[in-house]
């Protein structure tokens, strides 16, 4: 027998350790303090930046402790794991007692506890027998459960309500578990990536955020159209992409998405996140003779050398830029090219799309401008999958409901004792509650007042 007890001691000890609220306090504080680290040291940057910032030595130590991705480090996960065990053990430890309190048919009342708590007393000229039938309805009106017990010199009414509110705390704790499980599911079975799709084109895979690897999709995303509108100040007001999902080349779903209103398909969410200009491959150029006004048109691919009209030399477009800065002004999209006259040195040219007369400044015979570069956008999409989200959202709802119950409701008990004193009655009203003791005092006073009023209007 004794042996048995000794051998189960380590388990007991461990159980006690994990059931303690002291451990909770320590764990929560430690989580609070250590979480600061990752906000001071930028996370998931490239090693060179860290070495530059902290030097080799510190870098090695930080690396060892996984400081550069600390929220996914073994020790942080370990703290969270401990907290989880703590919550589970603590809940199991207390649940059976709570269960009995809540689901009992005949709740127990300890008159001594009532007498030691807040109470009101008054005397009345009626006998206890006369008061009994009048008092019971007053009490049971505001308490769900009420019973009356005869005593030697009178009677006692016990009443209570809100037993179920004792489950509120369990709701909060369960919600934390749901969040953790949901998060775990998301990190194992979900992904997060992005993809840029030029207008009119479609893709079958995305690039993962963490690894930079390509992730194939089971379907095709086509961007039919993209548009962006601006405020007067020039900041973007709304991005809008018209997307079609294709399965085996056949369209199955079509939706216009904007920021905050994604397309969801087969557990995968497609979010509008950015946009940009597609680098054009070909461009129609105009060459205008300054004197005659004669216009020549040529279509040029980027990097392709073309002969200039009137045997003025050769020209090649080297590069496209989505924003060209000229003396502090942003001229927007532009092509950069090189012009080689028949006998002279090559010169670098800028041909902004929106400013056709920009090249006049060069004071050459031929003015080069862009005829029509049909502007093409690409839409930047964030593509994610997270099967843990329903669980996490369930946790969110449970947490709020649990907090509401745990904080603002309570299990309240009241006791009304009536004792015969001479020809009169002495009435004692006492109330206890597991929370909000001051609120319970006020309630007890109110019941006491109601009872004395009730006694006042009794006949006899």
């Amino acid at each position: 027998m004794k042996n048995n007890k000794v051998s189960s001691n380590p388990v007991d000890g461990l159980w006690k350790f994990f059931a303690s609220v002291k451990l909770t306090v320590m764990l929560l504080l430690t989580l609070a303090v250590t979480s600061i680290i990752g906000t001071v040291i930028p996370q998931n940057e490239n090693p060179a930046a860290y070495i530059h910032e902290y030097g080799q030595f510190l870098y090695r130590i930080f690396k060892l402790l996984n400081i550069f991705d600390m929220y996914h480090s073994w020790w942080f996960q370990f703290l969270i794991f401990f907290l989880t065990i703590n919550i589970v053990v603590c809940s199991i430890e207390r649940l059976s007692a709570t269960w009995k309190t809540v689901f009992t048919k005949t709740p127990s009342f300890d008159i001594v506890r009532f007498k030691n708590s807040f109470k009101e007393e008054f005397f009345d000229n009626h006998s206890p027998e006369e008061l009994k039938s009048g008092f019971l309805p007053v009490v049971s009106k505001s308490f769900g459960y009420a019973r009356i017990e005869e005593t030697e010199k009178g009677f006692v009414i016990f009443a209570e309500k809100g037993r179920w509110t004792r489950f509120g705390v369990y709701g909060v704790h369960l919600s934390v578990i749901l969040l953790l499980i949901g998060g775990l599911i998301g990190s194992f079975f979900g992904f997060e990536g992005s993809v840029n799709i030029p207008e009119g084109e479609s893709v079958k895979s995305i690039i993962l955020r963490n690894t930079g690897k390509e992730e194939p999709l089971d379907f095709e995303i086509q961007c039919v159209d993209f548009s962006v509108s601006f405020y007067e100040s020039g900041t973007p007001k709304e991005y809008r992409s018209k997307l079609i999902i294709l399965e085996n080349g056949k369209p199955v779903i079509q939706k216009e998405i904007i920021v905050n209103d994604p397309l969801r398909y087969r557990g995968i969410n497609i979010f509008q996140s950015s946009y940009g200009n597609v680098r054009p491959e070909k461009v129609d150029l105009n060459f205008t003779n300054r004197e005659t006004g004669m216009i020549y048109r040529k279509n040029a691919a980027i990097g392709e050398e073309i002969d200039l009209p009137e045997a003025q030399g050769k020209f090649v477009i080297r590069e496209y830029t989505s924003s060209f800065n000229f003396r502090g002004h942003n001229l927007g999209e532009a092509f950069l090219g090189i012009l080689t006259p028949p006998n002279g040195d090559p010169a670098e040219l800028v041909i902004p799309i929106n400013y056709p007369s920009f090249d006049k400044m060069r004071k050459d015979d031929l003015i080069i401008s862009v005829e029509s570069s049909k502007r093409r956008y690409y839409t930047g999409l964030q593509v994610t999958k997270d099967p843990g989200v329903p669980l996490v959202y369930a946790g969110f709802i449970l947490m709020i409901l649990g907090c509401l119950v745990a904080f603002f409701t309570s299990h309240q008990k009241i006791c009304v004792e009536v004792v015969k004193k001479g020809g009169k009655s002495r009435v004692m009203v006492a109330g206890i509650a597991n929370k909000n003791k001051m609120g319970m005092q006020a309630r007890t006073q109110r019941i006491s007042k109601l009872l004395s009023e009730k006694a006042g209007i009794l006949k006899g």
């Binding site: 002291k22 929560l28 930028p42 997060e192 100040s233 709020i400 904080f407 909000n436």
Partner: protein, 278 residues
């Protein structure tokens, strides 16, 4: 008069109210306390009118949105909630000393919003990511939570002062509410704050999930709100362990409010992406 002017005047009125409460406390003049109440009510009216006017102005500019979209607007809302919660407490506990410790916070917050050169009071158009009802719910819940914590902070300072004077001899501390009442009240504020902070973090997560497809990304602002949440969760549990009563809880509440302030102002000094509030 535009909303910025109205809110500047409100700042002044809050300053006056705080002055009256402190004057009443220090010089034991009840009439100054009553003046404080009336001044506070005037300030609250100005504050509400300012927020509504700002809302109307944004529609006149053609960029209509709820006035809860940047640091200035959130500070203005924060002050309003502090004042309203305080006035409710004043009414239910019939004690104006608490005003000397809480209304200055509302005044400082308004003054910072109105006077700091780093905070623009211009009504700005919303970038696409901020156009979400979840964002409005997020800002409202967070700042109700922060306001409750601000009041708990004031009460905790009172608790620490009161505790120094066990024999109840100090004439200044005599007029404080009972230790028990201060303790209960600050606990209630913390529960109230914790509920709204939780709701704030949750609505923020839902918003992030609807805008970017992930509900949590460990960016500094998110992380700091979680740190704050951990601190107050610690406090709630510390009440159930012996040896963690009174003074220690008050210290935790002060640490908690410091975390709130850092989440609010400090995070912008850290490297990060949370565009909102800059």
């Amino acid at each position: 008069m535009d909303s910025s002017n109205l809110l500047s005047i409100t700042t002044f009125i809050y300053g006056l109210a705080a002055f009256f409460y402190i004057f009443s406390f220090v010089f034991k003049k009840p009439f100054a306390g009553r003046l404080g109440t009336w001044t506070s009510l005037a300030g609250v009216s100005g504050n509400i009118a300012g927020i509504i006017l700002r809302w109307v102005e944004s529609y006149r500019l053609g960029i209509g949105h709820a006035p809860l979209s940047n640091l200035y607007e959130s500070l203005v809302f924060f002050s309003l909630v502090i004042m309203v919660i305080y006035l409710v407490i004043e009414r239910s506990y019939s004690n104006r000393i608490i005003g000397a410790f809480t209304t200055p916070i509302a005044f400082l917050s308004m003054a910072y919003a109105s006077l700091s050169p780093n905070i623009s009071d211009r009504i700005q158009p919303l970038v696409p990511a901020l156009k979400s009802n979840w964002l409005i719910a997020h800002v409202i819940s967070c700042f109700i939570g922060y306001a409750a914590f601000a009041i708990a902070f004031g009460l905790s300072i009172m608790l620490l002062l009161k505790q120094k004077d066990e024999k109840n001899e100090n004439p200044f501390l005599k007029v404080f509410p009972d230790f028990k009442i201060l303790d209960e009240l600050s606990h209630q504020m913390i529960m109230f704050g914790f509920l709204f902070l939780s709701a704030g973090i949750i609505t923020g997560a839902v918003w992030a999930n609807s805008a970017w497809g992930r509900y949590w990304g460990w960016d500094p602002k998110e992380t700091w709100s979680l740190i704050t949440w951990f601190v107050y969760a610690t406090l709630l549990h510390a009440r159930f362990t012996r040896g963690w009563q009174g003074k220690r809880l008050a210290y935790l509440s002060i640490i908690g409010f410091s975390a709130v302030l850092f989440t609010y102002f400090g995070v912008n000094l850290l490297p990060g992406l949370h565009s909102y509030g800059q």
